[in-house]
């Protein structure tokens, strides 16, 4: 069995002060709440702010997803909600698209119009909890427009809503692709980010190393990749959109994956905080302390949830949740015991959410800030992962930054090779996974857990509803709003499309329509799959 970290540092049997020559508490760690924030941002830790305990929802119709969200609230999820979109919305086509009819609501929430968001949020408050909508980068502007539009409808100032509905354009390269081109996703991300800053809306964008790691990337690579994304995206907001860095730094938050190698995961997050603090201060010349504090949410690792003996996943989830709590996260959502099968069943979701509650109230982990600080082992691991991450970060910098590294295929190759290496390690039993390549049992002896079924008719029903509902809209208004959006989209890369998108969304223009007309103005086909034509004729009028 391999005794080394996932980035190849060989682990010794014992650690001592000799492993930390020149260790300087003030410089390397600082007290909790002090630069470089290795120990976190709050002097009192969870005593002053508990992490947001949440579960990801989204499956079937919006009405069904609303039911799940209400159920989670009953289970004690009050601090924030988290909804993931289906493949259709992730691609910004509509459920009635020929390629979408079988997949609407299959793997998430089919949020292709404001109507769907209204149904999702029926009876659920927009304020007093964080609103998180995940899925992919392309619908970033739509998710933001939904929040703004619904807030206005409910008579709430959008600046009172907080959460995260934007998503970094780089996620497309981390093993979960959508069909929209990178330059479009980047432009729309910059528009949304500039819009929230200028309108003082407390909405964040996820900049996710979790996808990267769930697709096989190692801990050091994950840190380097997330810092490179921060550097590139904040740099663009400053240089291309004219924002102060201290405002730009309030846009991204990091969603980190926490696996079972407990101490290494704790070290990863501590190193990530320290490295960003230094980058913010030294590279970006941060004026505010808050800009040096990378907001970090945790998702426990779905890829470690095994198909075999799924009850074992409860143990894995508990270990990972404890690690996630120890690192001092701002929010946490768990993988579930049925993660290797399907979207969470009600039982699995309750199990996972309760795992958080048990960790929060029964273990004492919330009493003390950064309890592993000063451990010779954990501090060494923190230094080692940082060292390797800096090496990779420099390689990415030398290529010209994250965008250049993606264009040159560096990131994709790195991820592909690492995923292959992880597979081989299990295949050759260098790494053991209980129930998979170690202590396996015959499938017939395995305990059967309830599985959330996908009903084939649901998707077609969602598609048919959209088809008929589309015709009931105020079509002259939809057309007028889309015409304005189309015109705005022709006004250059830095012309912000958010105001026109919000207006179009308020008139119930759909995801496929909004992104479709923007695509057309950029010389692309209305439909990324080239199967349907734009139903509006304003392109001719505009010409």
């Amino acid at each position: 069995m391999k005794r080394e970290t996932d980035y190849g540092y060989p682990i010794k049997s014992v650690y001592s002060p000799d492993d930390l020559p020149g260790f300087d508490y003030e410089k390397d760690l600082g007290a909790p709440g002090s630069f470089p924030y290795t120990r976190g941002y709050h002097p009192e830790g969870y005593r002053s702010r508990m992490w947001t305990q949440r579960m990801t929802a989204g499956l079937g119709s919006s009405v069904q997803a609303n039911g799940v969200l209400k159920k989670y609230r009953e289970m004690g999820q009050r601090g924030g909600m988290c909804v993931i979109s289906d493949r259709v919305f992730s691609d910004c086509i509509d459920p009635d698209h020929p390629n979408a009819r079988r997949e609407a609501g299959v793997l998430g929430w089919p949020g292709c119009s404001l109507l769907e968001f209204e149904e999702l949020m029926e009876g659920i408050p927009l304020t007093g909890q964080s609103i998180t909508l995940l899925g992919s980068s392309a619908p970033t502007v739509l998710r933001l427009a939904y929040v703004v539009a619904l807030a206005k409808k409910r008579g709430i100032d959008p600046s009172e809503v907080h959460g995260s509905v934007m998503e970094s354009p780089f996620e497309n390269y981390f093993g979960q692709t959508d069909v929209q081109p990178f330059d479009l996703n980047l432009k729309l991300w910059l528009d949304a980010s500039e819009y929230v800053v200028r309108n003082k809306i407390r909405m964040r964008s996820s900049v996710i190393s979790q996808h990267f790691q769930e697709s096989g990337g190692n801990n050091a690579q994950a840190i380097a990749v997330v810092l490179s994304m921060y550097k590139e995206l904040c740099g663009k907001l400053v240089n291309e959109r004219g924002l102060d860095f201290d405002d730009a730094a309030m846009v991204p938050y990091e969603l980190v994956s926490i696996g079972s190698r407990f101490f290494e995961e704790v070290a990863k997050v501590r190193a990530m905080r320290r490295m960003w603090a230094r980058m913010a201060r030294e590279h970006f010349k941060a004026k505010k302390e808050k800009s040096c504090q990378m907001l970090i949410a945790v998702h426990t690792s779905g890829r470690t949830m095994t198909y075999q003996q799924p009850l074992n996943n409860i143990a894995r989830c508990a270990i990972q949740t404890l690690a996630g709590a120890i690192v001092g996260c701002t929010a946490l959502d768990n993988a579930t015991m049925d993660n290797a099968y399907a979207e969470p069943s009600a039982l699995a979701a309750r199990m996972s959410l309760n795992t958080q509650h048990i960790v929060a109230v029964e273990t004492g982990v919330t009493d003390v800030v950064d309890p592993l600080a000063g451990s010779y082992f954990v501090e060494t691991l923190t230094n080692k992962v940082e060292e390797e991450a800096y090496r990779i970060l420099k390689e990415i910098d030398d290529l010209g930054g994250m965008i250049a590294a993606v264009e040159k295929g560096y990131i994709q190759t790195m991820l592909r090779e690492e995923a292959a290496r992880k597979f081989r390690e299990v295949d050759t039993k260098e790494r053991l996974v209980v129930g998979v390549n170690h202590l396996a049992i015959p499938p017939e002896d395995d305990f059967e857990i309830p599985i959330q079924e996908v009903h084939e008719g649901d998707s077609e029903a969602i598609a048919r509803r959209m088809e008929t509902w589309k015709k009931t809209r105020d079509m002259p208004l939809v057309t007028e709003r889309l015409r304005r959006l189309h015109a705005d989209a022709g006004r250059g890369e830095r012309f912000n499309l958010m105001p026109a998108i919000v207006e179009a969304v308020e008139a119930y223009a759909t995801a496929g329509e909004v992104i479709g007309v923007i695509r057309m103005a950029r010389g692309l086909s209305y439909d990324p799959f080239r199967l349907i034509d734009c139903p509006y004729s304003f392109e001719l009028e505009a010409a």
Binding site: Y341, A342, A420, D427, N437, I451
Partner: protein, 145 residues
């Protein structure tokens, strides 16, 4: 290792499933085992996969599934039969529930590989089950020769 020498296989995602890691890892392990892999990537439809199978004259089709869109796999099987590709076996890999595996088997899927499958299981199954029998004009041996 050259167990797979002479066997040509498509590896593809189907529908809007954008999860590529599984398909890429399996393509790598098959190539390492000597297979000729035609990797189609994302955004493939049942029609485009069958078209590629005919054009590339493959022995097998491997679908990587991480998005629960099983009805598209059933549609693929209908099309495979309609086009008379009786000598092409279709296998699926992914996080697929047991009940769904039974349904897929009923449509003629030769094998579903669940998460945690060893590379040897995948390689050995394909080598043992590709249908172009030894001695046939288009056989594996013939191609390898």
């Amino acid at each position: 290792m050259s167990k797979g020498k002479g066997i040509k296989i498509i590896v593809s995602m189907i529908g809007l499933d954008g999860h590529t890691t599984g398909g890429e890892v399996v393509s790598m392990l098959l190539r390492d085992a000597g297979f000729e892999v035609v990797y189609l990537g994302v955004n493939q439809t049942p029609q485009s996969i069958v078209d590629a199978a005919i054009q590339e004259d493959v022995d097998a089709i491997g679908i990587s599934s991480h998005a629960a869109n099983y009805s598209l796999i059933e549609e693929l099987m209908d099309l495979v039969r309609a086009k008379g590709l009786d000598d092409v076996i279709v296998v699926v890999g992914g996080n697929i529930p047991k009940q769904q595996i039974l349904k897929l088997a009923a449509t003629g899927i030769a094998k579903v590989f669940t998460p945690g499958s060893a590379s040897s299981e995948i390689v050995d199954f394909l080598v043992a089950n590709v249908r172009r029998l030894p001695g046939a004009p288009d056989s594996v041996e013939h191609r390898a020769a």
